[in-house]
């Protein structure tokens, strides 16, 4: 729980303090991200952002940048063969009450070379979901991946 909070805090601080960097794709765009967000109210909004962190052998994170998921279909390149930590953030704000909140869904991902990953990012009626499906190199049978917390890095 604590690491999640710290990662989120780091992402928010990086974005808020002007130190935020847009993620630079590396190599082929192996993530196909389909995003659907709806706050369900004319007086509030929600936006989705992906934060990308590299994970070293000691499971330490190095922030690499963010991608605003502001289009229904986007492609992002995550280095194959290397462990990355992907943080999907849903940030909502209310125009009337001045209330803001954000919630995240994270996962470790080590993309296989040549594989593609379809990521569904959805926020609707205050329910959110991130689902990842891997299609093996050469277009084999896709399989759904379980999201893995940072704690799984040490196991």
């Amino acid at each position: 729980m604590r690491p999640r909070a710290l990662v989120l805090l780091g992402t928010v601080l990086a974005a808020a303090c002007g130190g935020a960097v847009r993620y630079a794709d590396s190599g082929e765009r192996n993530l196909v991200i389909r995003t659907e967000t709806s706050s369900g109210s004319a007086f509030s909004s929600v936006k989705a952002v992906l934060g990308v962190h590299a994970v070293d052998a000691q499971c330490k994170l190095a922030y690499e940048g963010y991608v605003e998921l502001d289009r229904p279909l986007m492609q992002v390149g995550i280095p194959p063969g290397r462990l990355s930590y992907l943080v999907f953030e849903f940030a909502s704000s209310s125009f009337l009450g001045g209330t803001r909140g954000s919630i995240t869904q994270e996962t470790l991902l080590r993309p296989r070379p040549g594989a593609t990953y379809e990521v569904r990012v959805a926020y609707k009626n205050e329910l959110y979901e991130v689902a990842i499906r891997e299609t093996p190199p050469g277009g084999g049978r896709p399989r759904d991946l379980e999201l893995a917390s940072l704690g799984a890095c040490k196991r």
Binding site: F90, G98, T99, G101, Q105, L127
Partner: protein, 171 residues
């Protein structure tokens, strides 16, 4: 902001009940919460076994509910930050599935009563057998302000969805 704080205070108070003591376990919550102010007990049947429901709880609850949330509210002359940690516990077997959700305010809310280490009990959900491949699901929790959590748990229980509730929207 005022309404949010009021609801937070009310939830803490309802968890404490009239006895001035906060439930320290899921069992105590089951005994104290029904009939308490602003507590609701909902029951419904689903065409899934308790084991299947337990598997879904096990898969979704930690990922969706073990989170720390920061909400900020601002208005002219005031700025409020509330940090809240949630902890889900799933007990799943062949004949019963349980989901407990605890809530602990880390910052921005002062507790009136002594609460369990992981926070006061917000929801206790029980799924018990109700015929072949069917279960009765009982949700005990706040009667208002937490609709998104109830919707998510109902969808997990009946198998219609696996989405997570946005816990920044509750209260």
């Amino acid at each position: 902001m005022i309404s949010k704080l009021a609801v937070l205070g009310t939830v803490a108070a309802l968890a404490a009940g009239c006895a001035g003591k906060m439930p320290q376990s899921a069992d105590e919550f089951r005994q104290m919460a029904p009939g308490a102010f602003m507590v609701q007990v909902q029951s419904f049947e689903v065409k899934r076994s308790p084991r299947e429901i337990g598997e879904t709880f096990r898969r979704r609850a930690p990922e969706c509910l073990n989170v720390t949330i920061r909400t900020t509210s601002s208005s002219p002359g005031s700025y409020q930050v509330i940090d809240t940690a949630y902890k889900a516990t799933v007990i799943a077997g062949n004949d019963k599935a349980e989901l407990h959700l605890q809530q602990k305010h880390l910052k921005g809310v002062v507790n009136v009563y002594d609460e369990p280490k992981d926070g006061h009990y917000l929801f206790v959900v029980d799924a018990t057998p109700a015929g072949p491949r069917a279960a009765k699901v009982q949700i005990i929790g706040p009667s208002r302000g937490y609709d998104v959590v109830v919707r998510a748990i109902k969808a997990w229980a009946d198998g219609s969805g696996t989405a997570c509730p946005d816990l920044t929207k509750i209260g």
